[in-house]
Every structure is written in C-alpha cells, then in structure tokens.
Symmetry: C2
Subunit: 325 residues, 2 copies
DNA sequence: CTGAAAGCGCTTACAG
DNA sequence: CTGAAAGCGCTTACAG
C-alpha cells in the first residue's frame, strides 16, 4: 500500500503538504495542490485510518451495542443510527450481544480499544452498568430507563403512557375482557407498560388479567395458548411487543378466531413488518427515528462533555390499523 | 487513557515484556507475569487497537457490504457473518449502501483505509466491479453470480434451480395458470430464477405469464394488482422474493381471495419472517448460514491468497408451508 | 527471559 | 506557503 510519504515524493513536496491538502487544513500553493490531487487520483492512495486514529486519539466512530440485530426493532434503530452517524462524519460500528452480558462487556471493551468517540447502548440490561462505570468514552443509553451517573445521557420513550394508550384504545374499541401479555419484568419497558395497563384497569374497574412472556416469537406462541385457556372470554389482547403480537395473531388464526372480530390485538414498537401483515397490526409507535437522531446529535455536537444524567423522554402514539375495530 | 508504557512502569518491567504477556508471544517470568496481569486488571488497561493495526497492517476485521440492513434477508446474512467472524477472531464491520453505487464505493474505500483483512460484498450490482478491480484486500462476492478475476471468491446458490423448483411445485400442487412476478432483470438472482420458470413452462407446454417487479414491498403491492387485472384466471404466483410474496398475499387478502384455496404463492429466500406469517409462506430456501460460514472460512483460513475465481454454488430447496396446497 | 531501539503512517506545532 | 521533527501506542527483531 502506498503511503503519504510516497505520494509526497512523487509530487515533489513533503508529507506535511500532502497531509494539508488531504485535510484542507492550511493553504497550499495551487500548483502543488493540483499535482498532489492528481497523484492521489492516479495512485489510488487512501490514508491509513489506523495511523490517523492513533494520532488524533479518536477513530471518529460511534459504537452501537444492541441485543440482537435479528430483531427488526433493533435493525431499524441500527439503520437510523447508521445514517445519522455517517451524515455527521462518524463511522457507525454495530455490535450484537445476543442478550449475553459477557458479550456486552466484550463489545464495550472492543469499542474502547478501537477509540470509539461514543457508545450507544440500546436496551441493555442493568448488568452492564458496572462495566460502563469506568468507561473512558461517553455512553448514551437508548431505550432503557437508566438513571445514574454511569451514563452521559438517557433516551427513551414514555413506556407507561404506551401501556395506558393500548389499554384505553381496547376499551374504546369495545373490549370487555382485556388480557395483558406483559413483557419480561426485569426490563423497564415491560414494567412500565404493564403499570400503565394496571392503572387504566383500576380506573375503569376492570380486573387485571395477565400472562408474562419474553420478547420472543416462540414464547409468544406458547403464552397465547396458555392465555386462551386461562381466559377463554378474552376479547382484547395487549402483546408486549409486535413480535409477540404476531405470534398471538398466528395462534388465533390457527384456531379460527377472527381478528379483530372476536379478539382485538395491540402491539408495541411499530416495527416495519407490522404494516406488512394482513391484517395490519395496531400498535404503539415509538419514535425510533427521532430517538436515534437525538442520540447521534448529542454525540456529534459534543453535548456530552459535562455529561451525567441528561434525560430525553419521547412521547409515544397509537396507530390504529386492522387488528382493532 | 493508560498506555502499555505506564503499565510497564507500574510493574517495573519494559513495555516489551508487557506486550509479550498480553499477546502470549513469548515466555515471561511467572512473577513478573502475575504482577503485570494484576496491574492490567487494576488499571483497566486495554491495548490501543489503532496502534496495533498500524503495526501489523491489519485490523483483524472482515468488512461486509450489504444493500440494506432493513431487508431481513441481509440482516440474517449479516448476523451469521457477525457470529462466524467473531468466532474466527475477526471484528465484523457492517456497511449499508442503500443500493447506492456511490456508497458502495465509499464503503469499499473506508474498509480499505481501515485495513480490513477482507471484504464480503453481498448482492452488489456489477457497477462495483470497477472499484473492486484494484482493491488491495481480497473481496468475496456473496449472493451474486459474478465471475472474473476482480473477486477472490464467489459464493451464491443455484438460482436457476430455485426458479424451476418453485414452478414445478406449483404445477404439482394443481396450478394451471401460473404467473411469475419476475425480479429486476439486471440481477443475476432474478434473471436465473426467471429462466428456471421459463424452462419448466416450456417443458410443460404452459404459457409464459409475467410481470416484473423490484425486490420491494410497495412495488409488490402495485404489481400484484396489475397482475390480477392482466391475468384474472391466475391460480399460482411465483413472487421474486419473500417480501414481494408478502405484498402479494396482502393484496389477495384485501380482495378476499383465499390463499391457498384460490391462489397459491411461492416466495424466495426463506427470511425469518416467512414462517411468522399466517398463513406461513411456502418458499425456496437459500442456505444463508452455510454460505456465510463458507465466506468467513475462506477468509479466516487464508484460502484467498492465490485468489481468482473460486466458485461455490450452494443448492436450494423448497419448503412447502401454508400458501400452497 | 528481558530491554532498548526502530518503525508502522499519519498530523501538527514549530521554524522559516 | 512549506518542510523537518517529534510523537501517537504498539510490536518485534536484535542483543544480551
């Protein structure tokens, strides 16, 4: 691979000068500039990023740690972070953890060693807090209600209100027997949505009817069957996320229970697939795009220096489609 | 950030020695070793990857360029490449191009500048060939039937046979009026699948009935409506991929045309979503996992040095689910 | 078994 | 406007 020194030699100038035209960091005689540019073009020279990173102590990259890229919710999140990062002149670096706390730590470590400028952790468990504590680069928590000084900023949406909205919508749509498939309760998103459901039930004097389920398709299948046995009168289901809502629909479909005729369904997340389904899924929208944008913006604008505990809570909304009346 | 020199000083040894224990690259006195390890632990020292990369001229990373991470087919591919790369001691680096040739080139350039050890390009158009030609690192083409010396290896599956299988399955399932929604014909995958359909039609003396459609949901919606007008007698549809198959199902669902009762559908890809749908989608399976594994394996085992034109063609298979009888 | 030295390829004060 | 020098943090011959 050709180096900046060789380019310099070919152009009859010093490496400093070549560097200056590449980076536009100082005025350079236009003749020389042209020559240098031509040589770069001809030789296909590209600066060695490792050397640059070593010098500036920054890789100009934003790390993103997600539990699973296979989950379309995170895929979308990643896609937005990707776009915004690039737009802001950062390389996005995506790490999958498969929900494994050890891999979360490993990813964090790797990103640090690569001189990432900031790290966005999406939907991580609290286990990682410890590891984040002495992280030398700012960490932004996305889609998790962390508080505390570990994290430079915390961006999430109003899970509680989402839980309320879903329940109220079902009531307004004529449901009398609402069952909540509550998500994994060690997660804030699940806990707060459930609380929203609970409060609306109390306000309306409706009994609490629940089963619990991970954010997982197959478990969604199993829990829906259980739900049907436990609450045969059900006419409305709040699924803990869209994936589980899709399992729910599947079980209902197999059992010839009409949706939304006999049972109505609401999901959470508005993953892109939710509107490809037939019937299209009614769901709670989290403004993923805006949240992703905010995260990158904070990093790019360097608003994380005096860090500690910035919080950004985004509103949710309900989109009524075909699984509710 | 603490450096290896500071660790060395704290441990009362030289940087060389610390380096040796970190990399296990030579015997070190066990007392010193222990001391060094303790200091590393205490200080949370992590080696600067940029410096390492600069020295060894390799970032120990595998670049992956895909058209769109939002497409679940590529997401799955990326997830497998991710896992396998990590297992082989490489960092996976994912780049999205949004089907933009300029971004493909930019991604390639970036990966080169970062000293990636190899680059996997998935489903790229032929435009990128030119850029690949003088790529200093080996490029593996995945899911595209490129030939030629630009590429160190070419991994894809048997598109033609896939096209045949889909058609034959529909015929065996009792279809008499099969319409092929052929994919974008500038893509090998689409071209060869279409050819397979064509040949089976000829063999069975069935008329060719087609519309053309990008690998895109919304266009799939539009083309299905067109198809229904153009061929009102249709009783079997071959969609160019699973996403389009899902659009097709949607249009049929909205028009109260029963699937598979009145119209049967076959897709291509077996994206994870295809079996979450109700009814579950009959589709042609490409062994994505095996293809991803092969790509990483070639790179990790350094079988690409004498490069040029290694070809690996994987067999496809059909999985009959609920959209065919 | 261990350390001093050189070098990976860049960039930016520092002189001029 | 431009070049020589130093340094970013590692690793590996090279001596010992």
């Amino acid at each position: 691979m050709i180096t900046i020194r060789e380019v310099a030699k070919l152009a009859g100038v010093s490496a400093s000068t070549v560097s200056r035209v590449i980076n536009g960091t100082a005025k350079v005689d236009s003749d020389k500039k042209e020559r240098i540019l031509r040589i770069i073009e001809e030789t296909g020279f590209v600066p060695n990023e490792a050397a640059r990173t070593l010098f500036r102590k920054s890789a100009k990259t934003i790390g993103l740690i997600v539990p699973s890229i296979r989950n379309p919710y995170f895929t979308e999140l990643a896609a937005y972070i990707d776009d915004f990062s690039l737009q802001c002149g950062f390389r996005p670096f995506l790490c999958n953890t498969g929900y494994d706390p050890e891999k979360e730590k490993a990813a964090l470590q790797m990103l640090i060693s690569m001189k990432a400028d900031a790290i966005i952790v999406a939907s991580c468990s609290e286990y990682i807090k410890e590891a984040i504590k002495n992280c030398p680069v700012p960490v932004v928590s996305l889609d998790a209600m962390w508080s505390g000084p570990e994290v430079a900023a915390c961006i999430h949406c109003d899970y509680y209100e989402g839980g309320r909205m879903a329940t109220e919508h079902l009531i307004e749509s004529g449901c009398h027997n609402i069952v909540c498939i509550k998500g994994p309760q060690y997660r804030y998103s699940a806990r707060y949505r459930y609380q929203g459901y609970l409060d609306v039930c109390k306000e309306h004097n409706i009994p609490e009817q629940t089963v619990e389920c991970d954010y997982d398709f197959n478990q969604g299948l199993a829990m829906t069957e259980e739900l049907l046995k436990k609450y045969p009168e059900v006419d409305g289901i709040i699924a803990c996320n869209d994936i589980v809502a899709i399992s729910t629909y599947k079980v209902l479909y197999e059992q010839n229970i009409s949706v939304p005729g006999q049972v109505q369904i609401v999901g959470f997340d508005n993953i892109s697939f939710s509107k490809l389904l037939s019937p299209e899924l009614t769901t709670i929208i989290q403004p993923i795009k805006e949240m992703a944008e905010k995260a990158v913006e904070l990093i790019a604008n360097n608003e994380l220096t005096e860090l500690s505990d910035k919080k950004f809570i985004f509103p949710v909304s309900l989109i009524a489609r075909q699984t509710t009346k």
